[in-house]
Symmetry: C3
Subunit: 163 residues, 3 copies
């Protein structure tokens, strides 16, 4: 999957688009097992305020350095979601191929997440940028490293669902 | 149009993307005849709060079970739009192929609609998910059944334009 | 690049998608030199409230009739951005091929821009429609004429960054 290569076959690119579309849709549908299946066997998942990241501060809001940590996090969310009082809606912009790093492709995509409360009122919850390393595993594209760079860091209920 | 098939030709997929892009753009431009032409000869158009849909409650905000009903609805909107005091802007995420049902393809896409009032102030109006059945009719992709699952149900001026 | 043509090669269409993805991403990353490189050698860049445009009023918020004017504008923004107290996030919908005009392709895409202030609070800043003429220059797609039709005209800090 070479960015901008003349032989860029539609199939690969559409698979990339589908990966991002599924990523947001599965969170919004609370299908967390299917969501986890979008990650590689060895993976990381970090949510970091954009400002901290630019200043080189490692302090993140969510820091899963292994698949086990990510699965634990999702299990905890499931417990919390029994008392879930909101729903999410992800809008994700067109993914952008940035380059290659070893066997991974660097891809970025902007996002906005809207939350709706029990009264049916919808508000912008967070905006930011996904900066991901994507690999092919068993014939499918998977997130190996997902970095959620968060513009919004005034997010009181941040941990209720992944971003 | 088989989701994820290795021979997924770019043409079909781009036609799907174009269908959704046109859907939002034509509402925003108030080109309702061209918008109607995106639907199949036999079609349905429903707007249902997501919560009602998940609980199996049929109660919808808009319920057009035939093309005639949809055309009537649009005619009524045109009258209302003479006194139109807002404009719409649709942001629609990447469409996602879900599967096949007979000759139709199931496609979902998240959306957000912004409205701007006469003072030029823009607000989020509604967010939700399109869950559609799409068919090929006379060589073009058309919406046969469009289900607008609405996250936001606190929408006072809902009927002013389609979503 | 013929809209909807049966031989629409994926490469061309993806190049178009990439152009719009880069356009938003480079503003958000404040990479204005790379952003300028998305425009043709001879180019225009206009921001006009949608209402003014529809009434044929030429009055625009930003009016760059040449590449020199656009470069000047960006230089001024750089000065202003030393005291930058916000960050931007563009969400751009799927670009839509409208037609051809000479050697240019007419393309439209809806957008929303979110701004985040120093407290990390994110707000919708503006929504609107890009209506662009795109050409091939030295083998790459470039914006020759970019018209930003702005739904939102109540934008106090409009000139802080391009839209």
């Amino acid at each position: 999957m070479t960015p901008g290569a003349p032989d860029d076959s539609g199939g690969h690119r559409f698979a990339l688009y589908d990966l991002f579309a599924a990523y947001g849709a599965l969170i919004d549908a609370a299908e967390f097992d299917a969501w986890l299946a979008l990650f590689a066997a060895i993976c990381t998942y970090h949510i970091v305020p954009r400002e901290n990241h630019e200043r080189g501060l490692p302090a993140g809001l969510v820091y899963c350095d292994s698949r086990g940590m990510l699965e634990d996090r999702i299990r905890a969310l499931r417990e919390a979601n029994k008392y879930n009082i909101h729903t999410d809606r992800h809008l994700i912009g067109l993914p952008r191929l940035i380059g290659e790093a070893g066997d991974a492709t660097l891809v970025e995509a902007p996002f906005a997440v809207y939350q709706t409360d029990q009264e049916g009122e919808t508000r912008l919850f967070a905006a930011g940028l996904y900066r991901d390393r994507i690999v092919v595993e068993a014939g499918s594209l998977k997130f190996r490293d997902k970095l959620v760079l968060l513009d919004t860091f005034a997010v009181p209920t941040l941990l209720a669902t992944p971003l």
